[in-house]
């Protein structure tokens, strides 16, 4: 009850926050954002504040987490703030943000604009120099990231402004799109003007001849209450204003993308050179990183699985005893199973914020995994119970056992192998799905996988993928042992 009251109070005054908690510096899941996030963390740390880093998926997740108070600050771009977040073109960004108790700093000095890019040889061959020139080539294959496909300042707006008619458009990961472009699997992709790859692959940047793309000045977007809590931290963040050029940012991105340097180290180097800040990079050994991601992964998988077992078995019993209610139970758990995992994760942010006070990290990811685990266990429990010969149940009742004793001594032990198989399925699905927790800062094996995907760093991807596979196999093996042992006992 108390918790509910506290949660309601927190929601009612979304602008207030606890002054003692660490400053949470967020970032999105692409190299530049992560490097800037690392810089932000180092800057805040330099004034003696406690810092936590939180890597979230895309703009919606970051904005939600920021307004809810799960993040205090993250790097954003003015164009994104205007077009995607506020869905308006306000004259004064800060005035428009004040409604949400959010502020933004002045530009960090560089822009990371959207642009449309092609291979130079393909563009030259087709005589394409400007975006308008694309009109003459409706059959070009385009590869954009999913966010660009949805954003009003992305493909939908661009298409409308120029009257483009390309239909061969696929959504893909940004780093993979570069590979696809270089390999001529696609012809056109969206670029960010600070991407290191533009220089690396010597790409043609098409001129925005109708001036569609707004300016995307890099800024810090932060909670207004941070100014009261840690004015020194805000000042430290602002010390970066006007300090970075587009060329510098491109170079930093390149260091991470092509030279596979650690983001934290790249950020520390820059701060040292530019501000004379003695920031130490947080680099860990492989073993330490593995231990950490394994622990985080287990924190996602184990509690959610046990909670699912505790809820699903009674639900399965209910479904077996009251078939009509059971239909409803199957329907609800079945529908939950069909919700795309990323959508469910995003949906869980406000729900878990309300329930536990923390909208990002382990809680919402574990809650989503819990919901995904319900169906296999509920179904198998019900199937196991309804599969018991009616004569056995009659025989147990005729013996004079109580209903509870019939359930615990006869029905559940007889259904146990089927129930166990359901738990096994849920556990293995859980280990795999938990990698998606990386999208909302839950850590686990998903973190290196997502970072590796973004940097096209196979070694980093495998750092998450191999342990995830090993964990799945271990679960499989452990359940085989339990099942064999159980079979021997009965």
């Amino acid at each position: 009850m108390n918790r509910v009251v506290i949660c309601l109070a927190l929601i009612a005054c979304g602008c207030s926050a606890n002054p003692d908690r660490p400053v949470v510096v967020g970032s999105k899941k692409f190299t530049e954002s992560v490097v800037l996030g690392e810089m932000g963390a180092a800057l805040v740390r330099s004034v003696g504040a406690d810092v936590r880093r939180d890597d979230l998926g895309g703009t919606p997740a970051c904005w939600l987490a920021l307004t809810q108070g799960d993040l205090d600050v993250y790097p954003e771009y003015t164009g994104t703030i205007a077009r995607q977040i506020l869905k308006a073109d306000p004259v004064d960004l800060n005035a428009a943000l004040a409604v949400h108790c959010i502020k933004c700093t002045k530009s960090l000095g560089f822009r990371n604009n959207y642009a449309i890019g092609m291979r130079k040889d393909v563009a030259a061959e087709k005589g394409i120099r400007t975006i308008s020139d694309l009109l003459k080539h409706p059959n070009l294959k385009c590869g954009f990231i999913h966010e660009f496909l949805d954003r009003p300042d992305g493909w939908p707006g661009l298409k409308q402004r120029y009257g483009l008619s390309q239909t061969n458009v696929v959504g893909m990961n940004h780093t993979l799109a570069y590979r696809a472009l270089v390999d001529k699997a696609i012809d056109v992709m969206e670029l960010y003007t600070t991407d290191g790859e533009i220089a690396q692959f010597d790409l043609a940047v098409l001129e925005d001849d109708r001036g569609f793309f707004p300016a995307y000045e890099a800024v810090w977007l932060y909670r207004a209450d941070l100014e009261e809590r840690r004015p020194d931290a805000v000042a430290a963040l602002k010390s970066l204003e006007g300090k970075m050029t587009e060329a510098e940012m491109q170079r930093l991105n390149n260091r991470v993308q092509t030279e596979k340097a650690n983001e934290s180290a790249v950020a520390a180097e820059f701060l040292q050179a530019k501000l004379g800040l003695n920031a130490t990079a947080t680099t860990d050994t492989l073993t330490r990183r593995l231990l950490e991601t394994t622990w985080e992964h287990l924190l996602l998988v184990v509690p959610s699985l046990f909670a699912a077992i505790a809820i699903s078995i009674p639900l399965g019993i209910l479904a077996a005893r009251r078939p009509r209610l059971g239909q409803g139970v199957f329907l609800v758990t079945g529908v939950l199973q069909t919700v795309p995992s990323l959508a469910l994760l995003l949906f869980m942010i406000p729900v878990m914020k309300w329930l536990t006070g923390s909208g990002t990290g382990t809680a919402p990811a574990a809650a989503a995994l819990f919901l995904y685990s319900l169906l296999p266990i509920v179904r198998n429990t019900a199937a196991g119970l309804t599969g018991i010969a009616p004569s056995l149940q009659e025989s147990a009742t005729a013996l004079g056992l109580s209903r509870w004793a019939v359930l615990t001594k006869i029905d559940l032990p007889l259904a146990a192998p089927t129930i166990l198989a359901g738990i096994r399925t849920a556990a293995i699905i859980n280990v795999g799905s938990a990698t998606l927790g990386g999208f909302i800062g839950a850590g686990g094996y998903g973190r290196p996988i997502l970072r590796g995907l973004d940097k096209f760093d196979t070694a980093l991807m495998l750092e998450g993928a191999i342990p995830a596979a090993v964990m799945a196999l271990t679960v499989e093996f452990a359940f085989t042992l339990v099942e064999r042992r159980y079979r021997r006992q009965v």
């Binding site: 004079g400 109580s402 009965v490």
Partner: protein, 249 residues
Amino acid sequence: MFELTNVRKDYGGKPILGPLNVCLRRGETTVLLGPSGCGKSTLLRLCLGLILPDGGKLAVAGSQPADLHAWMELRRRIGTVVQDGGLFPHMSARRNVGLLAEHLDWDEVRIDRRVRDLADLVRLPPEALSRFPDQLSGGQKQRVALMRALMLEPEALLLDEPLGALDPIVRSELQTDLRRIIRELKTTVVLVSHDLGEAVYFADRILLLKDGAILQDGTAADLFERPADPFVAKFVQAQRPPYASVGSA
């Protein structure tokens, strides 16, 4: 022991049994005889409260059980063997027999002694006690099922075709043993059978059922000498002794 007054059971809106007026007396062995689907198993289920009547009154051991709890208490005073024995496949023979006693918090020693006595009574080899049902022969399974029914020294035994699916030699052995046990214990027995020979062998009293009604209520001799109905006569004649066919061939 079981007193039925105007008891009726419907299925899907149609009456499948009764109305019946009959009293199954203490100390008597009553055989419910009749072809498949005549309602004899339904009658047995009604006596245990496994299904409830759609009309009429049913008293067991002098009282009318009012709720599930009362039925549960009553069932503990009645031993039951269902059609295929109904042994729990995940428990050893010994646990099957001792399950209810264990549930009622009997101590181990007492359970053990009682199980051994019962194994003697039904002539089950002691080593079979540690086996699981799928490791027992058909005859052994029925012996274990009988032990389980007798575990709490019941006031009545309800046996639903306990010897149905056994081969003739085992069946005959078990019939002999079962009759000896019934005589020794002097308990009330209700036995369901479709076999006239078996009925005659066990019964103090036979109720012959057809289509949910009692056609004849009497001794074996009554059935042969004074059939109450043409169907009774036909039923008796249909179960001719083996030598009859040899003679006529």
